[in-house]
Symmetry: C2
C-alpha cells in the first residue's frame, strides 16, 4: 500500500531566520492605515508588496532560497521557469548575488517581460507552451545551476512568510488577514507566521472564482485539478497556478477558509487602490481588497495583502476607463 511521506511544515523559526537572511536586500514594507475605507467595523490596513523594487513579494522567497544555498553551489548559478514576477525576482536576486541566472519563459511571454528579465542580466531561454518544466530541467543539467521553484519549496514559503512576521510586529492585535492564493507559497508562509504570533487572528485565502481550485479543494478536503484553460479565464494572471502537496498541506493547516471574488470585483479593487490608496496593483494583487469589499467575514482589524503591481499598461487603462 503506497504511503506518502509526511510533509514537514515550515516553522516560525524558519521564517525568522529568513527575515534575518533577506533583510539587507528586500524592502521592509510599511503597514498602511486606510481610514478612507470608511468601515468602522473593519478598520483596514494595506501591506503594499507592490512597492518592492521588482513590483512583487516574490523577491522575498527568491532571496531566501538563493541566500540559503551553500556558496560553492550558489556560484554555479540558478534556474527558474516563469513568465511572471518569479522570473524578475530570481533574475534580480541573482544579479545582486552576482551569479548567473537562466530563466525559462514561454515563447508567448510579452516582450516587455522578457526585456525586463534580460535587463537584470539574466539569460532568457524561450520554450514552447507546456515545455517549461522540461526545458528548465535540461538547463539545470547543462549548467549545474540550482532550480529555484516558484512556490513548491520550504525556503520559498519561509521567505514569503516574512510578510506575516512584519504584520504581527506592526499590528499585533490584527483580527483578519486576507491573502491571495495561487500556488500557495504566499498564503502558506503568511499563515504560518500569523498563526504562530497572533493565534486568534483569522487568515483567509482569496481566489478569483474563475480559478477557484483551492476553494473547491477546501470544500472536498483534498486537492482538485482545474484545467489550465479554465484557470486562464481570470484577469488575475498571477493566480492561475495550483498548490502542490507541500503548500496545500500548509494551507489546510493555517487558513481558516478560502473565499472567491468575481472579475468585476477585482477590477473595482484595482481602481479603488489607484484612487484611494495611490497604489498600482495588478489584478492578482487586488483580490484581497476585493474580498474585503465583499465583507463576507467577521468584523475586526483587517489587513489586505497587495501582492504585486506589474499590470500591463493597456489593461490598467482599460480598468481605469471603467
Amino acid at each position: 500500500m503506497g504511503q506518502t511521506e509526511p510533509v514537514e511544515l515550515v516553522t516560525i523559526e524558519d521564517i525568522e531566520q529568513a527575515a534575518a537572511r533577506i533583510r539587507a536586500f528586500v524592502l521592509r514594507t510599511p503597514l498602511l492605515p486606510a481610514p478612507w475605507a470608511g468601515d468602522d467595523e473593519r478598520p483596514l490596513w494595506i501591506k503594499p508588496e507592490n512597492l518592492q523594487s521588482i513590483g512583487a513579494f516574490k523577491v522575498r522567497g527568491a532571496f531566501n532560497a538563493i541566500g540559503r544555498l551553500d556558496e560553492s553551489v550558489r556560484t554555479r548559478g540558478v534556474v527558474a521557469y516563469s513568465s511572471g514576477n518569479h522570473a524578475q525576482a530570481v533574475a534580480y536576486a541573482a544579479a545582486v548575488y552576482a551569479i548567473p541566472a537562466h530563466i525559462v519563459m514561454p515563447e508567448e511571454t510579452p516582450a516587455v517581460k522578457v526585456a525586463a528579465t534580460r535587463g537584470h542580466g539574466a539569460r532568457v531561454v524561450l520554450c514552447g507552451a507546456g515545455q517549461r518544466e522540461r526545458v528548465a530541467a535540461e538547463v539545470v543539467e547543462e549548467t549545474g545551476g540550482v532550480l529555484i521553484p516558484p512556490f513548491d519549496h520550504p525556503d520559498i514559503i519561509a521567505g514569503q512568510g516574512t510578510i506575516g512576521l512584519e504584520i504581527a510586529e506592526d499590528l499585533p492585535t490584527v483580527d483578519t488577514v486576507l491573502v491571495p492564493v495561487s500556488g500557495g507559497g504566499l498564503a502558506s508562509g503568511i499563515g504560518t507566521a500569523v498563526k504562530a504570533l497572533c493565534p486568534s487572528a483569522r487568515v483567509i485565502g482569496v481566489e478569483p472564482e474563475l480559478a477557484a481550485d483551492t476553494a473547491q479543494a477546501f470544500r472536498v478536503g483534498h486537492r482538485v485539478d482545474w484545467s489550465i484553460e479554465d484557470r486562464n479565464r481570470t484577469i488575475a494572471d498571477g493566480l492561475r497556478s495550483q498548490p502542490s502537496e507541500l503548500t496545500f498541506t500548509h494551507l489546510q493547516n493555517v487558513l481558516d477558509e478560502v473565499v472567491t471574488v468575481t472579475e468585476d470585483q477585482i477590477r473595482s479593487a484595482v481602481a479603488e487602490l489607484v484612487f484611494r490608496a495611490h497604489l498600482v496593483a495588478e489584478p492578482s494583487g487586488a483580490v484581497a481588497l476585493a474580498a474585503y469589499r465583499a465583507m463576507d467575514f467577521p468584523p475586526g482589524r483587517t489587513v489586505v495583502i497587495v501582492s504585486g503591481g506589474n499590470v500591463e499598461p493597456a489593461l490598467l487603462r482599460e480598468i481605469l476607463a471603467g
Copy 2:
C-alpha cells in the same frame, strides 16, 4: 527708514520635536530604492508621501501645528483655507484630535474635494474667488478657532521637515534631494533637516516652468510676483502658490538651486511612477522625478520627494492614455 524684522529660522531641534509630536498620527514613509531607474551614476530612491492616508505630506505640518496648540486653545477648533491637500490634512488632524474644523473653500472647488473634506467631519464654508483669506479671518473671529496656514508658519515648516529627518536616517550618504517648491513650506523644512544632518548633500527645488516664480526669484535675489493667471497654467495644481517672506528666507538659506520642468516632463513622470514605481502621484507630486529625468545636476545618490497622490481620475486617465 522702515526695517523688516529679521526672520527667525526653524532649527533641526524644532524638526526633531515635531517628529516626536506627530509620530503617533503620521505614516513614517519608507525610502523606496528604485533600481528600475537604470542610472548607475545617480542611483534613485523615492520618498512616497502620497502614501499618507490623506494622500499627501500636508498631514505632517497640520499635526505639528495643531499638536503644538495649548489644549485650552485647541478645543476651540481650527480654521483653514484651501481647495487642496491642506484642507484634507487639517480636517483629518482635527478629527483625530476631536476638535471642530472650519475649512474655507472656493465655490469652484470640485465637489469630490468638498465631500472628502466634509467626510472627515469638517464644516466647509464656500466663498467667492479671491475671498478665502478674508472669509477665513471672519470665521476665526466668529468661532475663536485658530488659523492653520498652509505654509507660512514655523510649525508647518518644522512638521514638513520631518521628511528630511527620515531621509537622513534612512540614507545618511544622500548626495542630492529633489523637492517640489510652491509656497515653500515643504522645501524649507526638508532643506533645513537635510543641511543640518547631511551638510554635503545638495537640496534642489523643483518648479513647473509655468509657475517658476521662485526659480526667477533665485536669479534676481528677491521674491517676484507672478500673476495667478500665469501660475494657473500649469497642470501641477498644488504648485501654484508663492513663498512668503518666512519661507523664502528659508529657501535662500537651504536650497542650492531651483530648477524647472515642462508640462510634458511632468506628465511623463506621472506615467513612469505608475508603471515603474507602482505609485499614483498627482502632477505636483511628480515634478521631482521629472527633474531627475532631466538630469541637470551632478551624479550621486538621489532622493525624489513624491509629495502627493490626489489626482483627478479624468486627468490620470488622460495622462496614462499618453
